[in-house]
Symmetry: D2
Subunit: 418 residues, 4 copies
Amino acid sequence: MNTDAFTAHESNVRRYCRAFPAVFARALGATIWDETGKAYIDFLVGSGALNYGHNNPDIMAPAIEYLFGENILLSLDMHTAAKRDFIEGFVDWILKPRGLSYKIQFPGPTGTNANEAALALARKYTGRSSVMAFTNAFHGMSLGSLAVSGSASTRELGGVARHDVIRVPYDGYPSQAFDSASYIDHVLSDAGSGIEKPAAIILETIQAEGGMNAASAAWLTEIQRICRTHGIVFIVDDIQAGAGRTGDFFSFESAKIEPDIVCLSKSLSGSGSPLSIVLIRPDLDIWKPGEHSGTFRGNNFAFVTAGAMCKMWSDKRFTAGVERTAVRLQTHLARLVAKFPRYIEQKRGRGLMAGLKCRSPAVVGRVHDVAFENGLLIESSGPNRDVIKVLPPITITDAELDRGITILEHALQEQDNA
Amino acid sequence: MNTDAFTAHESNVRRYCRAFPAVFARALGATIWDETGKAYIDFLVGSGALNYGHNNPDIMAPAIEYLFGENILLSLDMHTAAKRDFIEGFVDWILKPRGLSYKIQFPGPTGTNANEAALALARKYTGRSSVMAFTNAFHGMSLGSLAVSGSASTRELGGVARHDVIRVPYDGYPSQAFDSASYIDHVLSDAGSGIEKPAAIILETIQAEGGMNAASAAWLTEIQRICRTHGIVFIVDDIQAGAGRTGDFFSFESAKIEPDIVCLSKSLSGSGSPLSIVLIRPDLDIWKPGEHSGTFRGNNFAFVTAGAMCKMWSDKRFTAGVERTAVRLQTHLARLVAKFPRYIEQKRGRGLMAGLKCRSPAVVGRVHDVAFENGLLIESSGPNRDVIKVLPPITITDAELDRGITILEHALQEQDNA
Amino acid sequence: MNTDAFTAHESNVRRYCRAFPAVFARALGATIWDETGKAYIDFLVGSGALNYGHNNPDIMAPAIEYLFGENILLSLDMHTAAKRDFIEGFVDWILKPRGLSYKIQFPGPTGTNANEAALALARKYTGRSSVMAFTNAFHGMSLGSLAVSGSASTRELGGVARHDVIRVPYDGYPSQAFDSASYIDHVLSDAGSGIEKPAAIILETIQAEGGMNAASAAWLTEIQRICRTHGIVFIVDDIQAGAGRTGDFFSFESAKIEPDIVCLSKSLSGSGSPLSIVLIRPDLDIWKPGEHSGTFRGNNFAFVTAGAMCKMWSDKRFTAGVERTAVRLQTHLARLVAKFPRYIEQKRGRGLMAGLKCRSPAVVGRVHDVAFENGLLIESSGPNRDVIKVLPPITITDAELDRGITILEHALQEQDNA
Amino acid sequence: MNTDAFTAHESNVRRYCRAFPAVFARALGATIWDETGKAYIDFLVGSGALNYGHNNPDIMAPAIEYLFGENILLSLDMHTAAKRDFIEGFVDWILKPRGLSYKIQFPGPTGTNANEAALALARKYTGRSSVMAFTNAFHGMSLGSLAVSGSASTRELGGVARHDVIRVPYDGYPSQAFDSASYIDHVLSDAGSGIEKPAAIILETIQAEGGMNAASAAWLTEIQRICRTHGIVFIVDDIQAGAGRTGDFFSFESAKIEPDIVCLSKSLSGSGSPLSIVLIRPDLDIWKPGEHSGTFRGNNFAFVTAGAMCKMWSDKRFTAGVERTAVRLQTHLARLVAKFPRYIEQKRGRGLMAGLKCRSPAVVGRVHDVAFENGLLIESSGPNRDVIKVLPPITITDAELDRGITILEHALQEQDNA
């Protein structure tokens, strides 16, 4: 394994390469091979950016054809045929079937670019500067997104004070006994609460980095009601939980809510190519032309692969398969929880966005190591890194899924010898 | 021209598509075709993100081959063979020949991600929170970068107060009579100046959005000296001016300075695929593993094309060609300045990063329209949008360059009839 | 009543003079006379700044003598005999008998100056910038104190964003069902809570402006424990509740806590002359000489009257009298609550710092008007101005107290005719 | 000298008492006596708060009479006879003779309370949050005033970031070669300058703490013009330079400007008793009743003495005397500058607000010590503490002035032996 170039020249900030000490070369579906030919099942999938697996042929074939045609690759926000195709596909195959009607903004291609644009628009729309965000939230690494994130280490990163953020407890925080939504409603109604009316409430329906905490449908509905009552823009950051991860395309479909703004990125392109969009309730789209920009908002390679991804959702067999796989995964995990009560405290998450809350970070660390040794890539999350994140491709085959779970099970078994 | 999808579904924020009302489809080198087959010379090149032209075959051939091989596309910051090749290429063909020794950080793939990482690192390193930035600066659209940008409309965007930024006059601001560097030195030395010692000074050597203002080598050298004297991290945002734009790979080579941190993006991938890096003086690389992250920092498609781009700089014929083209462009522009004193006030910029300061925004608007009509894409910059930005590919052929200039000249000529 | 000068020349900001439309001239004890000779019982006492009544002879006699002697009036922080006498009196008669040992800082003479100094010292000591403050808190009108205040209208005043403040629920907020102290402890212990460890927790043991909300001894004790556990400076703003108002000298004596910093002002001088002090746990007194200043910190007239006030606390008959008066007041108020359930919801506060929470602001407004008409000055507080503030001098005679209560009772009775 | 109480119980923050190690007891006019009976000439006068000398009989006689009458001492912002008399006196004897028409606001009684109120009003009036302030400015010790102050040590005090302040160079900063007013005008007119339009420009006409820097009438006039052109509220902080210090009542009279807001405090009460007012251009007085408050804004003792002070300005002999004394002081200082070029660089300030810029802080320190030894209280200012501040009472007798100057001259002479 030749990693001298990384050691000598890459910043100390690199992390996953330390957790997975291999040089990866090829990948297909849920399997990834290192340079030596060793295969791994991928339950990490680019932190949720490869929901459709590696090199999904339905997605990559049109992309390769596109490149051969000397078509436009980068176009800022000029019109291109590929962009038009994507917009039409997204509207016809994703929005319309769900009865949704949003304007689409193309910010810079990362999730944090989308969140920053959403927050800026909400502030512009309401004329207010504060936004309300939750305990254990994670929204990205640029300053506006850092400010709304909950993790202490993340927040310290910017090196400047985090302003204009009102921190409130997420669903079930600090415990189920506390009615977080009612508290939020109260402080927004009380002139002496010391809490300004915010421009927006931003949330993830499932907090991935925060520990795979899934909000209940009832709580999400109540937050939406509070936003409407107080004239607050309701933003769902669906960057990790959206684009199919929960089994539905949007993570909030089952809660039957309709946020004012939705941010998508990560798996949106289907290929791992950087792309993000901000979905905006039409009357909220008060942007002036050019008011928000970004060089890479016109990544046409990603438009092509994202269009192909959208099309997959028009195929009943595809959606039925995802649904079935979600059930299979949940069944597997329920079994593991029952089998390893000494190590696992609780199943977390929803659909294919699953987690196992363990009794300690040490358990998680050992599981990770043994699993890697045996050919499974898996990661942790949560403020104490004690939650195993289980994010297989939503297109994973039963065989690959079962193989991944078997390796995971074996790694848990091995705890007895630790 | 079918643009209904854009009108119906895309946010009002779209801008370039209004300035260039066409649907673009194919592109090669400096030429871009719309759906009707009409060809345009491209003097905009993705706001400087396509310095090597569209679909440069030296860059795209290995990329297509890479896709065929079912190689890794997205890898977070795990080791991949493609990433290793890029690092080695960048070190061997770019850094070493210039006597530079930097650690490379891969943040999210946009320019603003790179600037945010650089500012965060400088704040972490110095323990200070303020940064010093310049009049008419532009550094990006996320909150940390917005804060250091100078444009009022850009700064208003975030909707929150811009904190921890010390604004100082750029070289030649408000006029050449004022010694900006000496002023900066003075306020940093005076305990009563009301200006804290900043973590960093961040600057563009040529302010693109700010109006193609080129700083002198003497001023840059003095700013570097001030940074060293006062223990301030010196950051060059080389996102638009770097990666070959000025004729050299880095925009600051001719000034013989060596910044502590350099940010690159835009043309870094050579292909228009999103990629950015932060170059860090090794002793400043105090990042802890995982302290800064970003899903799309492992865009392997871009690693492949960026590696191919780096290799081009090892070819003397290539660099000689760029140099010759820069001279040819400057000669053309000098001629236009001399010919149209009624419309043009001054030539701006340096190398292939050129601008024509016009007597009014109206002139620029009309030139833009007539040029577009005749097959030239060209844009404006500056706080009053009265500077014509001339950014041809640095690989443009003489024929294409001359044709572009001819269209521009004709558009200026047409002013007489306005 | 000649009020032309006020109408013509004083700012619109004046308020109490609108609520009490008279021109006042003389005052003694709990009685105040207007220019026409009409007498009023004073249950407002300068918003708690005249706890010892108007022109208390024990306090004013030495002051008049001091003036006759051409003694020093203003001394910055130079040594003066009067200041020495005050320090000795405060230590001997107030601190020592209570087993307290604090260093005394003399900031500018207003309460907000004291709070600003306390917050600045806590930030300096801990190196942290945030402070934790409570719903419905009130700490003053300069920017640092505004920031920690809870009232929306107060907070809007500064016209700038209120930074570096973490807002948490006070004891019993939003209802007794919510365990505020446990919530605070939780967020300070959770690395993902999004809440930084603050430099200080600042609180009033009884929130006067916030509606006469009295914290329980158990809650105060728990907050002190949390501060000690997490290394947070515990600041009690005793500006309105201290200096005798609750019957004890400090409002927190009955809770048996010992805050790290205590701020006193208002009634501290005994005479209404501006004076404030910050009491600092000795090891926390890391101020450098001159680091905090203020022209009027050396108000020797106030030192003389404050010294006389301190001496009063060495007199058992005085303290017994105050205690007895507190009981008498509480008995009166309990009776009123029982008698007027239609108008009064709840008795609030503690000792001589009492409030009647009414069923509506309208009730309070009418009571105020009828009481004024009949010779009683009384004010309201709370975010909705629906709490009658009952603040007689702690030295009030039984006759004056009973007369005030009789007027109040009559004003409540009159509600039936409203 | 018994100073045990200070050492044992007062905070380390005390400073002047270290510089002047004596216990002061009595004072009259320009003379102050310590407990041992030693007399000192006072050229410090409470940092400018005792312009009318200690215990000025014209001022103190009515105050003592007032106390004897059991008149109101503290009245919040209720009407009192004493307050009415002060308002009428201030209007008739100060404002009207100068053709000025301001509304008077009574904030808390310290200078910083006044500045905070002024800044809050300007922000409310304009709806903007930033204010523009100058190098070497000093405006007070609460957070809003700290933010606009220039001194690094002062600014560090608050322990939080200083926001919403735009720092610009004062007249003559960094040198007379730089046209500060023109620079300010330029950045306010340039959309790319990175400098928002502020709510207010706040300045001292003579920067006392900043080193006795006097702005020229031309510069002040130009700043006023810029404010009017750009719709910015022009605030003069006349706390130290006003109330007679320069020879005129307001420091800006000779410049013939008329600021939108003027803040007065320090010597306003004439007696050293805390008092401050904010003078507001009538159409700017958009305060709502009660929007700004402060317990000690109704210090009637100070109203009485301030009224007596105002009356003095109606006496031609008084004003002529002040004028004559100013000339006498300036003549003395010019002589010292000429005599001690080795130690003194420059005469600073104006009228009776004078300074001697010395060649080093060491010179100033030694002069201070020798002068104190010989019976003169004198202080320093400036970012490097190298300016001797000469602030005698404006009512000083020729004999006292000459004696003070003689001691100062001798202390300078002694430098030769240092």
